[in-house]
Every structure is written in C-alpha cells, then in structure tokens.
Symmetry: D2
Subunit: 260 residues, 4 copies
C-alpha cells in the first residue's frame, strides 16, 4: 500500500468569515492596500513588496503587457471569433504562445547571470566573467541572450528607462552590471552593435529582485495576459480576425487552384 503524503499549500484558504491569501487577511490587509502588481509580488514571494520593489516590479510587468499585433494577439483573436462564449479560452490560446521564442530571452538571461555570479563573492571580476560567457557562447555557436534587437536600433529604448527606474530604487546592482559587461564584451568580440535589449534588462532585474530564473517566464505570462484581454475587448468592438482569416484563405486557395 502506497504511503500517502500530506497535501500542503501556503497560497490561501477560506473560512466562513475570512479569506486568507499568503497568510494575510484579504479583506483587512490587502483590499484597498495593495495594487495588482503588488499582489503578483505577494503571490510569488509570500511577502509584501517594499515601495522600491513594487516600483521596479511593476515597471517590468508593464513593459510586458502590450506589443501590438503579435502572434499571441492573433491567436487570441482567432479563438475569440470562433468561441465567443469562452473569452477565457481565447486568452489561454494566446498565453500558450508565451514560450521560449517570446519569453525565453529574459529566462535565458537570468539563467546565465545566476549561473555565473549567484554564489560568487561581491568583488568578483565582472568584466572577466562577461568575457568568459561571451567566449563560451561563441565557441558553442549559441546566440547570447539579452543583447541586440532586430528592430530597435541602435538601442532598445526600454533598457535605459528600466535601468534608470532600477537605479532610483536601489536595484541597479551586479546582475545589471554583468549584463552590460556581456554586451560590451560581445560588441568587442563580434564587432557589432549589441546593446542590452529589453529581455536582457528584464532578466537582469528579475535577478536583482531575487527571483529564481525558473519563474521569469511567469511575469511575461502575467503581463501578456493583461494585454490579451485588451485584444479580446478590441476584437469585440472592432473585429479583424475574420479578415485575416479570409486573406490567408483566399491566398492559399488561389495557389491551390493553380495546381498547388
């Protein structure tokens, strides 16, 4: 006979007159006293954010909300038009696309940074570590995450703003420094302009805030969920999914009728 293990969760529970969330009384301690970004912090860490943590964390989340007509938004709108009775399924479809290609950048950045300096002394030689990371990626022919951008040139406009917000709040630390050093080392090694991009800044700041790299994709999921509900609302007001479908269909049909 298998020995049962107890089921334990610290997330929350409810009794007749009280709802407990991460050890706090929802009605008395949280409602009216914390915003949605702070609530996300509480869910992930089990404690309330300081004002500085809340400022940086909200900036990361806000960065991730809306990028226009991305594949996520298109997927969500396609489902919304086919299943208007279930908006949640439309948003879920778009969230399925928050994968390695889209949210993998900041995840990989945080993984690399934490792997390199999480347990090193504070006076470690950041420039040397960065050079080693770049050399390692170049020798394995693996792209270096968090630097360069196909559209935003010569710099990603989000990076200086995110780093400035971090600095104002005391979170521009050694992870940011290492990501910037990686950018410099890569520019020198590859002779290209490769500034820290938004995923690079977000990955570094997630490290500064103390999150393990494994949860980085989660903040992209949260931010993007907000944006996708926005796209559902626009698709209700001003639809475009069927027009996209019609165009794709027309073109594929025309090709097919010519003999494929």
């Amino acid at each position: 006979m298998r020995q049962q293990k107890p089921l334990r969760s610290e997330m929350g529970w409810s009794t007749t007159d009280k709802i407990t969330v991460r050890g706090r009384d929802l009605c008395n301690d949280l409602l009216g006293k914390i915003d949605l970004g702070g609530m996300a912090w509480l869910e992930l860490t089990g404690r309330m954010p300081t004002p500085q943590e809340a400022a940086v964390f909200n900036a990361l989340l806000v960065t991730l909300v809306e990028h226009g007509m991305t594949p996520h938004a298109i997927a969500t709108r396609m489902v919304q038009v086919c299943a208007p009775e279930a908006m949640q399924a439309a948003v879920a479809a778009g969230i399925c696309a928050v994968g390695s290609v889209f949210a993998g950048g900041s995840e990989m950045v945080a993984r690399t940074l934490q792997g390199a300096i999480k347990d090193t002394p504070a006076d470690a030689d950041i420039a040397a570590i960065a050079e080693k990371i770049v050399e390692d990626h170049v020798s394995r022919k693996v792209p270096i995450s968090g630097i360069g951008h196909p559209l935003h040139k010569p710099i990603d406009p989000r990076t200086p703003v995110l780093f400035a917000i971090a600095e104002q709040n005391g979170f521009r630390g050694r992870y940011c420094a290492l990501q910037e050093a990686i950018s410099l080392a890569a520019e020198k090694r590859l002779n290209r302009v490769l500034p820290v991009n938004a995923p690079g800044a977000i990955g570094a700041l997630m490290c500064e805030l103390g999150f393990p790299w494994q949860i980085c994709r989660g903040i992209a999921v949260i931010g993007r969920c907000v944006g996708l509900v926005g796209h559902v609302a626009e698709e209700m007001r001003s639809p475009m999914a069927l027009e996209i479908y019609d165009r794709v269909n027309d073109e594929v049909l025309e090709y097919g009728l010519k003999g494929g």
Copy 2:
C-alpha cells in the same frame, strides 16, 4: 473577388526608437508612472485611470487573484507536472477554467444591472426595479446572480470592504444600490438570508466604472492569471500534483479491481 477590409488596431505598435501602447509612449509616459492594474485599465479603456478609478479597479482585480486550491489551480498544477518545459501552458489550462461557473456570477450581475438601468433616468425607482428582477427570476425558476454564498455566512466579508472602497472613491452609485435592493427584495420574496456576495459587488462595481458586461470575465481572467503563476511557483518549490494524481488513481484502481 472579395473586397479586402483594412486591418486596424489601436492597441500598439513599435518603430525603431519608440513603442506606442494605446497611443502613449511606453518608455516616456508609462514605465515608472503606472502600475499593472492601471495598465489593465488603459488596455481596456484607452485612457489613464483617475486615482479613484485605479483604487476601485485594483481592489476588484486583487479580490480575484487567489482563492486557494480551486479547480483552476489543480488544473494548472496537473499540467505543470507533465510539461515543466512550458509553464505558459500550465497557466493557460487553469485560465480555461475561468468560465461560466466561476466568473459567470459577476458577468450575469453586470448584465442584469445594465439591462435594467443603463438607459433609465437617474430618478428611477430602484426598489421597484429590483422587485421586478426578483419576480422575473423566480417565475422563470432561474437563480438570481450576485446574492447569497454557500460558505461565507451570514455575509460575504469582501462585499462591505469593496463597497467601502467604492464609496471612498465616489463609485458607490445606483448599480450598487440596485444590487443591494435585489438582495433585499430576494430575501423578502424567498424568506432567506441572501446578502450581496463578492461576484455581486464586483459585477455592480464594473458597471459603476463604466465597463460593458461582456468584458467582466476578462478581469477574472487577469486576476486569476496572477494567482495561477503563484501556484506554478509553489508547485515548483513544493509539489502536490502527483500526490493528488496518485490518490485519485489508487482509489479508481481499487474500485476497478473489485469489478467496477
């Protein structure tokens, strides 16, 4: 030949040096100046919230984040344990469960309230309208949304707090009054204790904030998404999905072996 329609969206777009979200410059106008709840408001309405709107809207969102080990959380954890490479799919699975049973309450409340008084004069007789709504539901044998609660008795502790936050911010208006009048009329008609519950308060306050009822489920999707990322993080730290699976499986097997 089909006439193509133009593709139009106001959600956002990017150029080399600028990211535009709902007509605003992400880097200069939003980052560091708006929190995630405010960003959700901007996505849905196209304008920045007033501090009062932000306070009420964040309170609604925060209410919806975490309810412990709900079916949503169980679904998310089941997927996480089977597909740890794709946390986004785990959250998406839980979001699929934000359906008519869970989020339908506030949606139905808002639909009923907007149907009843959206276009009526400010001096309409709220008590009479409430009695008519109750009578209509009773005669059709349809449950009245937004009143009573199976666990929270005699009152739902969230309702007075949400209504107080609304009052402080100037949003305790006629939709709240009508939902309270429906509660009173139903208590009288059915001779039971049926106070306004949290879905009732949320539905009424979404009306006060000016949202169409069709988007109500969206704020449950956003709030719950935050909570489900929290459950993914806990499942990573302190797993329980496989134990739940093992217990279910053991019991079904034992029954099956006895001859079904």
Copy 3:
C-alpha cells in the same frame, strides 16, 4: 465534517501486467483489433462499434479533420512559432477555437432534433414537426441550424455522401428525415435555397448513432485535433505563421503612423 463521496471511473486502470480500457484488455482485446475511430466510439459509449456504426462514425470524424487555413489552424501555427518546445500547447490553442461558431452547428442541430422527436412515437408526423420548428425559429428571429451554406451552393457536397454512407449502413432514419424536412419547410417559408449542410448531416447522424447532443462538439474536437497536428507538421516543414504576423503588423503600423 463533510462526507466524502467515492471516486469512480470506468475509463481505465493499470496493474503490473495489464492495462484495462473501458473494461477491455488493451493488449489482448484492442491493439491490432480496433482503429482510432473505433477507439473513439469505445471511449464514448463503453462498447465496441458494429461495422456499420464504425463506418458511419468514421465518416463523421473524417469530415471534421481538415478545412484548410481556418482560424483554428492559424491560432495553432501562431503558438507553434512562439513555443516550438511545446507542440501540445499549439494544438490546444487551436482546439480552444472549436467553439459555438465552428462546432455549434451540429450541436444545435442535434439538440433541436432530439428535443423534437427523441420521445415521440415512430409514426409522428415529421413534416408537421419540421414546420413547427421552422415557424418557431422564424418567430423568434433565430437562425435555423444545419441548413444553407455561405460557400457550398446550391448544395453542400458532403451531405449526400454522408447520407448515402448512413443509408448503406442502416442509419438513415427519422432524425435525417426530420432534418431534411426542416430544410424543405424552411425553403418554402423563407423562399430561399436552404439544403441540409454538413453540420446538419453530422448533427442528424450523431442522433441516429444514439449520442446525446451534449457530446456532439466532442467529435469536432477529435477530428480537428488530427487536422491541427497536421498543420503543426506543415508549419515545421514550410512555415507561414511569421509571414502572416509580419503582414498584419506592417498594416497596423502603417495605419498607426498615419495618426491612428
């Protein structure tokens, strides 16, 4: 203390040397002896199909597999390109779109047909019942499901083939007759050409096969799942998702830069 209810399932269980599926030994009774369509029948009904049932049921499923670049396929491809590590999430996104608009036709047809004659005597006047159904829909200004088609004119080519397969296998019964009578009555009442379409034929045949209308959407889910895995495979070989995304994005950007 809440009284626990037992957990019971007849779907299947495994022991050291045997896997039981719907009461049958997977290895000895099913593998090599049943095809996937038959297995779907077994899952839904708990018994093996007769050859006649298998023929009709497979024809319904095959009809539902592939319709080209539908919104479902577009959604799946959008997710695949963003999360290639999780093909299952891409298919899941497309399945989310098997909703009321796409699969609702046959569901509504089966609901209407079962509501009308499930419990009526075999000699009921089909033509009169059809006229009543049409009149009821017209008076409520609700579209009649299962007749007419925006593209396939004057007839839906699938309908005569499906009805012929049903006839050969002894399943062209009174539900088919009623759906055809509804088509005739509607054509007369509305003075338009409104032949039974594929959802009409599928809904009627699901009734003939004895399925409750509530599960009709399930066979669309199964059929479409097969098709969506096909689209994932084509997107791997010959991608088009990013081109669709680029076109949408370019057009929305151009519009945005002109001032929205």
Copy 4:
C-alpha cells in the same frame, strides 16, 4: 519596405462544389474510404497509408488513447466543471499536459534512434551502437529513454504486442532492433531489468514508419485527445471533479487552520 513572401499550404481548401484535403477530393476519395487513423496518416504524410502502415499506425494511436485518471484527465475534468459551456477548453487543458514528461519518452527514443542510425549503412553493428548509446547516457548521468517501467514489471505488456503487430506488417526493422539492443546493453551495464517499454516501442515504430522524431509528440496529442473527450463525457454522466477539489481544499484548509 519588407518583401512579402507567398502564403502556401498543401493541407486543404474549399470551392463551391468541392473540398480538397491533401490533394484529394474529400467527398469522393476519402469519406467512407478511410478511417480516422488513416486520415491522421494522410494529414501527416500527404499520402494514403498502405494497409500495413495503417495497421501499425492505428495500433500506436490506440495505445495512446486511455490511461485512466492521469493528470491530463484530472486537468480536463477540472476545467469541464468550471466551464461547461466550452468542452473544447477542457480538452485543450488536458492536451496542454501532453508534454515532455508524458510524451517525451517516445520523442527522445525516436531522436536517439534517428541520430544513431538514420544515415548509417544497413549492415551497421547494432549491438556496438547500442553499447555506445548506453555508455554515453551513463557517463552524462542522463536516463536512457524507452526502457524500464515503474509499474509494468518485469515487462511492459504493450511492447510484445506492438512489436508483433509490426512484425506481421513488415515494420519490425533496425530501429526496433536497436531499441532492443539498447535495452540489453543497459541491463548488462546497470545490472537491472530494463525491458523496452511502450514509449520505447512507439518511438522505434514511429522511426520504422518513416516519421521524423519532431512529430512524435503529435501522435500522443491525437490519441490523448480522443481519451480526454471520453473523460469529458464521463464527467458529464458521472462527475468526480468537484469531489477531488473538495478533498484537496479540505486538507489544505485543515493544515492552514493549524497554523500553516
């Protein structure tokens, strides 16, 4: 200005009187002439299966349909109970769980086998290749996919049946031989009983049938989709999701009230 690329698909298209699927006329060439498993083959390969291919392929698919109350089934039932208006979302949630843990076995098996002998001559020394694969996994401390089973001991009852079906149909070739040689080499090297398990057999047979390893997860998605629709139907007839939820919730609450 970006140069547009053409949108091309061979999956299918429709005209007024004809539906084309993978180059075939759905109504005249497929309906009544192919079953669902054959249709899946056509979708993935673009051609009709031989009877031998259809036999082996259907056996693989049938193996993957039903495994009782797995995490996938639990996830699907949790969503079904919360969103009964959208059965497709419930199935999608369960499909999200067909990930690396569940379907990764046969994917990894096929990847390893194809990496090892896809381009080697027919007279390659299978035993030596197997020993090298085992040694490589042992030295990297990576588990060897497709051998051993936690429950099915000493053998997985599906393997001999699947291999026998393959043999009868001319598909028990060198990929099967290599997987069996890996089993033998691993048993010798690790001194444990490690027979070829079902994922091992399925992975090897997908190679024999000519599929690239990247699509292996797709047949698990198809098979499991059929099973999950079965679970939705059972949950409708004989619900258990809420009882599972109640038990989890009760236990977590009891723990929480003791002080967490």
